[in-house]
Symmetry: C2
Subunit: 579 residues, 2 copies
């Protein structure tokens, strides 16, 4: 009130100043006549009264508005920092649990402001978001509890702010298409900011959640000067990964990632496997080669594990019988492609068998079928959400046992399609056909383009996206791979494929120390660096086989993600160690 | 047969050589008389005939033995290397599945030779081992299928060899005390070596499985020159970890380790937690300090993650709500103690809460109770096996809700027991009482000896090995810990204890960027190195709390293992990067 009165006085003061400065002259520039002067005086008096009335009215309006603030002021605002100073036991509701079944119920929801829209000065619409669930919230002026000020406050809350709203669930007369909860909205009665956004958003979560198709369509239909959807580029996403991970797509992707781990583990635990944790820092670089990161280990040098291969085999030699590990795997490959990372999550298993490594191969086939079934039955909602941004076809699983192809059969299929032709010196080959020619058509390892072609042929012919190629050439596999007993140019090894892309490599391992050393020497691996490993077999070891699955690869191929970095929460590549 | 004949000829040849060399002299050194010579000639003739007869008999015996080999030769021997050349579908039996219920059944068992004993030349006893199960096997000469040669062969098989035996399960008239299967033995009909031991055993698995108590008792009762049990020292074990891990104790320890992970995960997955995988290579050293390993990352430098702390919090800021991770944690601490390793397995969780961090503290209490219950009900066999080597008392769990102590209460308990006395300059304190005195009795962090004393007091008073201390002094906790709202000298942080030893540290975290930077500055942590982390909170974040559990510590304390290295398959310390 004091402030308001000051304002009114202020206005009168200015009025007086005008009077003093005023030296009344007529249109001809000369002082006015008495009559004219009187008339002017009258007009001034009238004007003054009008202004006084206006000021009074403004004061009264301000007074009214101040009163209006009062009536809603307990229902909105910014909460103090939660440092656990009280515990009232209020129950929060999850957006995913809200539906028409809750019509009329009072709910308390803590959520992000996904979108907001002020309609006039009496109404504010929110889309409130939790993970991949959204619901519409509505704040409407009324005479008792919701003031225009409150609505204005709601409209000014920045996107991504976390708010705590109370309201009543109300059936919506028509479906709300913009949110995941479509049959009801929340009639909000209070709005409090729990955590503010204190930084310019580098992009909107809504923009980051749009499909390339939607963006392209907006570009094609837009006329000059029209606004088009913003494209959030990969590096921008990864530089601001915390914001990017909030998209419904990413929330779904990482629930599916966790689902793959869960299905993998459940199957193995039910099959008497023991979970192990092998060291990631080692004194010897496991599989040799240059793809190893070195660590300063006090006064010496260590290496980061390139896979748990040697350790899981040593645990087989230690009678663990069936082991698995989910853990990080490090590869110092300077490859900047859509499918390479320097750190990824390995799902590794190793298993003793009785007579034949096909026991293990068959076991792993069933393991994958279990994973695919779990994804299909328990993660269909998440898969559907991802498909809105990254469309993909249903993943085809064979009805019967998975298909297996001998490496020779795979080569025959490729030859039949015009691939794996003999490269001859001097022969001219058009650039676009280059990958159809190889030096050694029967024994060269499959290239990535060949794997894809093969995937397409097999899908077409056998209606499956999942199959196994057995008996890879010995020359294409690591030193610890058991040679094929019938033809030592091949080996007891297999790759598993999803949609023509390799997701798991495995084999029977050599459990005899002499043969192992022989193979190491043949392939130029120094046995001295792997003494503990070889010694494990000198202490006696059962025949065994296993494999290593790249978690992010399975996720990427299953969901048809365009880049493996999208399958990792905080991906690492030669150029990225942050965030 | 040809070989045998050669042998007989050989013997006659040697006989002739002896004759030639012989220049007969009498006891006086002079040539013998004719009579004496004739006598000698006769004796020689006699001797020759005797030797010929012996040779003939030896040949006949060898012939008989060769025939005996024949009748048993299909029932023993060394199998060729299993390179999966055939698959017969034979069914192997697990020793743990064998009992009197299988009396009379034929079984095929692949197992290690744990002990073996030849009795005369007609009988051989085996203890066959699989993980922590053992059964007695018996090979007895008969006239049709088991020859003395076969028994001899059995007796010559080195310990730890993997053999495949076929036999009949037979009820034993009396309990066999030396094996885990006590009511039956296997009457073996065939024995084949699957995998040989090709190295001198550095120690016997049996010796490595003995308790310190047994060894001491043998030392005390032994008279001079008597054999005592061999003590296998820790470094010998760890240098030959594959062999050491074969002890029943270790087989049990690592099943329990896997059980802790399973119980931890099951509880969290059932509580809507998402499993995450955060990077272990980072561009910024997470919690500062010197305890970080550096990596050569292409042309720059990276660091190994000291904990998933910052990443799990960033995922809370990314709306993941409830996350957990099981993964390696790296600490470059040059501590060579029984309870430090440079790499261990972290069981980490982080969780948004509604109103108060005690929601999270209570949740974690229940998580631990779940883990303890699973260990008690599902791993009692394994725990009993470990106790044979490392005795321990039952772990006491509170009947009701776990006990919680304010840090002040813990200090009061210590003071009551004569600890936490004021250290005053100049005051002389006897060496043995030094740890009763501290500079700041009310706010100094608990030392390890104090924690143990406290554990004993609480066990004595409240009959529990599991409890929580809440509200640690702010000065004793990392920069990201939320101060206590009532007294900023304390903080919203807690430690969980087992038998007086800390197994988990946790707290409410600061989710406000300004307060976070303020605390960083106060504690001398450079905010520039943690920009992505601080930015996560600038994008808005819910209040949250969590904790990190050391898997090996829980295992060690639960089982009363004397050294943390025994709780890790391949432990790492400042001096050990191998095997």
């Amino acid at each position: 009130m004091a402030e308001l009165e000051n304002k009114v006085q202020d206005l009168s003061l200015k009025e007086k100043e005008v009077e003093k400065k005023d030296v009344p002259l007529g249109p001809d520039g000369k002082p006015l006549s008495k009559k004219a002067l009187k008339k002017l005086e009258k007009e001034r008096e009238k004007e003054k009264k009008r202004k006084e009335r206006e000021a009074r009215e403004a004061a009264e309006r301000a007074q009214r508005e101040a009163n209006e603030v009062d009536y809603a002021k307990d229902f909105y605002g910014v909460l103090p920092l939660n440092n656990s100073s009280k515990r009232e036991g209020k129950v929060y509701t999850n957006i995913s649990d809200i539906s028409a079944a809750k019509d009329g119920e009072k709910v308390l929801i803590r959520a992000r402001v996904y979108t907001s829209r002020l309609q006039g000065n009496k109404m504010c619409f929110f889309a409130l978001r939790q993970k991949f669930s959204t619901v519409q919230g509505l704040v409407v002026v009324n005479k008792e509890t919701i003031s225009k000020q409150m609505v204005k406050f709601c409209g000014s809350i920045p996107l991504e702010t976390i708010i705590l709203v109370e309201g009543i669930v109300k059936k919506s007369p028509e479906l709300i298409k913009s949110t995941t909860v479509q049959d009801v909205e929340i009639q909000i009665s209070s709005v409090f900011v729990v955590s503010s956004v204190k930084k310019q958003l580098p992009f909107l979560v809504e923009d980051a959640a749009r499909s390339e198709q939607q963006i392209k369509a907006s570009e094609e239909s837009a006329k000059e000067g029209d606004s088009k959807f913003v494209r959030v580029l990969l590096d921008t996403r990864l530089d601001n990964r915390v914001l990017d991970l909030r998209t419904p797509t990413n929330q779904a992707i990482f629930q599916i990632q966790a689902g793959i781990c869960r299905a993998f583990r459940d199957y193995l635990l039910n099959s008497k496997f023991t979970e192990i944790h092998t060291p990631k820092m080692t004194g010897a670089s496991s599989e040799g080669g240059s793809n190893v990161f070195s660590i300063k280990y006090f006064n010496s040098t260590g290496y980061l594990s390139q896979s748990p291969q040697l350790y899981k085999q040593m645990l087989i030699a230690a009678d663990f019988d069936r082991v698995f590990e989910i853990g990080p795997v490090f590869r110092a490959e300077e490859s900047n492609t859509y499918r390479h990372m320097t750190e990824f999550t390995g799902l590794d298993l190793e298993m003793a068998f009785d007579e034949h490594y096909h026991e293990v191969m068959g076991f792993i086939e069933n393991l994958f079928l279990h994973i695919f079934r779990v994804l299909k039955t328990e993660y269909s909602e998440q898969v559907a959400i991802v498909r809105r941004q990254y469309p993909s076809e249903d993943f085809l699983i064979p009805d019967q046992a998975p298909l297996r192809f001998h490496f020779k059969e795979a080569i025959a299929l490729l030859k039949g399609a015009g691939y794996r032709q003999q490269l001859e010196p001097g022969k001219e080959i058009p650039k676009e056909d280059e990958f159809r020619y190889v030096k050694d058509p029967d024994f060269e390892d499959l290239s990535t383009p060949e794997e894809r072609v093969l995937g397409a042929i097999i899908r077409e012919k056998h209606n499956t996206d999942f199959y196994v190629i057995d008996k890879y050439p010995a020359s294409a596999r690591p030193f610890y791979t058991m040679p094929d007993p019938e033809d030592p140019r091949y080996s007891n090894s297999y790759d598993f494929f999803m949609k023509g892309q390799e997701i798991m490599s495995g084999a029977q391992r050599i459990h005899d120390p002499e043969l192992l050393v022989e193979r190491m020497n043949a392939l130029g691996v120094d046995p001295n660096g792997l003494k503990d490993y070889i010694d494990a077999f000198r202490l006696g070891c059962v025949p065994h086989a296993g494999g290593g699955i790249g978690l992010e690869r399975v996720l990427m191929f299953y969901l048809n993600l365009p880049n493996i970095r999208l399958a990792s929460a905080f991906p690492r590549d030669p150029k990225r160690l942050l965030p």
